[in-house]
Subunit: 352 residues, 2 copies
Amino acid sequence: MNIPALRQKIDELDQRLLALLNERAELSSSVGRWKQAHQEPVFVPEREEALMRTLVAANRGPLTSSGLRAIYREILSSSRACQKAFSVACLGAAHSAAWHAVRLRFGASDRVVPVETASELLRALEEGDAEVALLSRSDLLKAYLPKKGVLRNELGTRLFICGEVRLSDALPDDAQKSPLTAEDLAHQHDARFELPAGDDDISFLSIPQAVVDTAFKPINGSHRGAAASEPESGSAVASLLRQTTAHAGDAVFFLLSRRPVPEGPHLKTLVCISAPRGEEMDSVLRELMSASDIITTTWDTLSHGSKPGHVCHHLELEGAVAQSVVEAALVPASDKITIKHLGFYPETQVYG
Amino acid sequence: MNIPALRQKIDELDQRLLALLNERAELSSSVGRWKQAHQEPVFVPEREEALMRTLVAANRGPLTSSGLRAIYREILSSSRACQKAFSVACLGAAHSAAWHAVRLRFGASDRVVPVETASELLRALEEGDAEVALLSRSDLLKAYLPKKGVLRNELGTRLFICGEVRLSDALPDDAQKSPLTAEDLAHQHDARFELPAGDDDISFLSIPQAVVDTAFKPINGSHRGAAASEPESGSAVASLLRQTTAHAGDAVFFLLSRRPVPEGPHLKTLVCISAPRGEEMDSVLRELMSASDIITTTWDTLSHGSKPGHVCHHLELEGAVAQSVVEAALVPASDKITIKHLGFYPETQVYG
């Protein structure tokens, strides 16, 4: 077929696509009217993720999975716009990293409400100016601080984590390629979790999921057969961890909503454990988690917990792990710690 | 219809959409094979814009025009990915404003190549690592500097402006709302174009299109009937211009390509005029442009032109205005100035 003929076929096909897209938008409007009458949320992340997974599974190409997801991100965005006024608040000015994370996770038809402080973020959710709010992992971790943490008492009680946004290209190439072993991480263990004593300091270390996977999977029973790669020299690992720590904060964002995502397939879990400060307790917790069936994908430690002398361990877990399961795993330490379940959220692809 | 029934209808419709999208991707692959055999570019901005305009004109809703454009941005992005390896270079690191401008203008399936200098941008285009390159307006203006302007001799001869990306939300609310009149702008004229004398300084002032439209449209013959709004006080306008100058540089980006966009409908034009420094010559040029049929939407002035003692006027014009038309308008000054036509590009909506 020659070019003019091919282009004519494409133009005809585009008219059929346009008709279907509008038919879909009309159905979405009907869903929206029902939702408004029943005060149901417009954004249901687990339904959107299930829809995406069904389509990706049915896709025979040549369209790629990521291309299909990107097209549907905009279709769903325009659907939400047809349902009712839908806004996402973000902690960060227009064109900040957080603002762009909203743009990449949601779509061009979703309205972004940039706010400057965690208090404003909370107010936007409470007063209904926004149905969902996005903040960076580092801002979320700051929200736990007893003094400054305005979201602290809300998280897990009135506000829930309902999603995450991971941006690509934010980690240096070296970090993505380095073959880290459990031994490497164990070797760096003390260095990573050395916390400053200052009362107002925030200290947290974000380790990218790929690195943690490599390191913890053998302990957790998966990938046992994988040949251990040659350990890197200590200083190379330390340098790598410094790099990833510097970048990971801007590359990971969380979504907050007043509606908790129910337990289901393809989810992750976020929990916060307040525990006495000290290497001994750190080791106890790590050993208990390693001995359980729970797979920890990220382990951050903040220098402040819910009480003086406490630190806050912030854990991302694979799958939907109920609070009771985490409690059961940590029973031997239960009299010393407080466990707070922050929410389930769909496992996501990397954006950007 | 109840919710499960509506959702089932949506799911069925999604399967039909998936089939159509893949049919489209196959046709695009055929176009791609033909293009590769004939060494034709993958990115043809005027064809994409014409396609978008046809669809928007045919759209009867409830899908909005901007929602439709956003969905097609991703469909076209996935098409390009099916055609051949397509990359956009950008002057700015991953997650910089320029990087995000690429993400908003192109789609998730297009590869971004971040580079650090204008020389690298040039090399990426020359060596075929990228078919298109994006840089901010302020970086483009810097590229004219005689000493540092590595793109200077390339622009309009081997490289052409083929598009622009305007981001929303980058201007303060005040600037977007202020009702500026021609009188206001005339009043600020001298202040705005006062240029520093230093040899290596870059001085340019970007005025957002909306402000210039309001100010110059009456002079240029359009909107003559519009009632002039109450002029703002001088200091308010000066403050406004300071604000917009500070922000506009990050909000406007240009696309460069080795292929010039041919003259056609719905285009804008970018020209550069090197002229002797001085208020007298500035006034002559402004009067000549005002007296012509050409509508100037943005007028920037750089403190360096193509010769010592020259400045460079950087003009965005409405429509496809050929070099000969600009030359005809400026005939009385022709012995003192040099005119360089940098390219035509489709008028675009605002992104983000």
